[in-house]
Amino acid sequence: MKKHWYDYLWIVSIVYLTLGFFNILCAWIGLIFFFLPLLIAIFGGGKLYCNLFCDRGQLLSLLGKKLKLSANRRPPVFLHKKWFRYGFLAFFMVMFGQMLWITYLVGAGQRPLSQHVKLLWSIKLPWQWAYHGGVSPWVAQFSFGFYSIMLTSTLLGIITMILFRPRSWCVYCPMGTMTQLISRARSRSE
């Protein structure tokens, strides 16, 4: 099949995660991957982002298929069930809200800046080398928080890529669930 320019967007994933390793403030760039899919869905593009452009999905395909890291097993049935997908989305949103709250507290001077990346919402990794100062503490706190989310979801994606099929993450990815929900809401109101 013919390759398009957008078939190479997996590189963006690697560049993004690498940048955050050296300068955590680059985590802010990730807001693009956050708003773009939602905006596309809101303006009627359905899941075009998932279907064509998502760097994360492409990276998982690459690791799973090209590098053959995937066991290529059928994932358990619950993975695509609505209760699990919506439940995971809800959990993700709560954790996202908590991250914003911590950012707010740091901004209000009620909490010191924590220079850690939190993996899987629990494991604190030292990451202070990636912060060089020069911005308000909340700007840095948001960077650490947002990068933690990106790294965590990439890790979960890689784990389910290895265990099941390459893009098993896409079955329960909160972004994918949200864009499908927006598409549903749109088609119902049409």
């Binding site: 998932c50 279907n51 999905g57 994932p75 695509h80 069930k81 893009r167 079955v171 598409s183 088609s187």
Partner: protein, 71 residues
């Protein structure tokens, strides 16, 4: 007299209610026979589908089956 048997053809069938509309299936179909409809679910164009099963093997949710249908 030779009795004509009803001919069966293999076609992909998507369990729509379980489809996450990720579009992985569309990328591997050699015939362009499967597409994601409006970000909702994947749809098979039975006229084009040759029942090769590539989409079914690719689907990360494993919700596509290749079934025999009357042609």
């Amino acid at each position: 007299m030779i009795e004509e048997k009803p001919r069966k053809k293999r076609k992909a069938q998507v369990a729509k209610q379980d489809c996450v509309a990720c579009g992985c299936c569309t990328k591997v179909c050699p015939k362009g026979a499967i597409r994601v409809y409006k970000g909702l679910y994947a749809q098979v164009n039975e006229g084009l589908c040759i029942g090769c099963g590539r989409c079914a093997a690719e689907c990360p949710a494993a919700i596509i089956e290749v079934v025999k249908v009357d042609a």
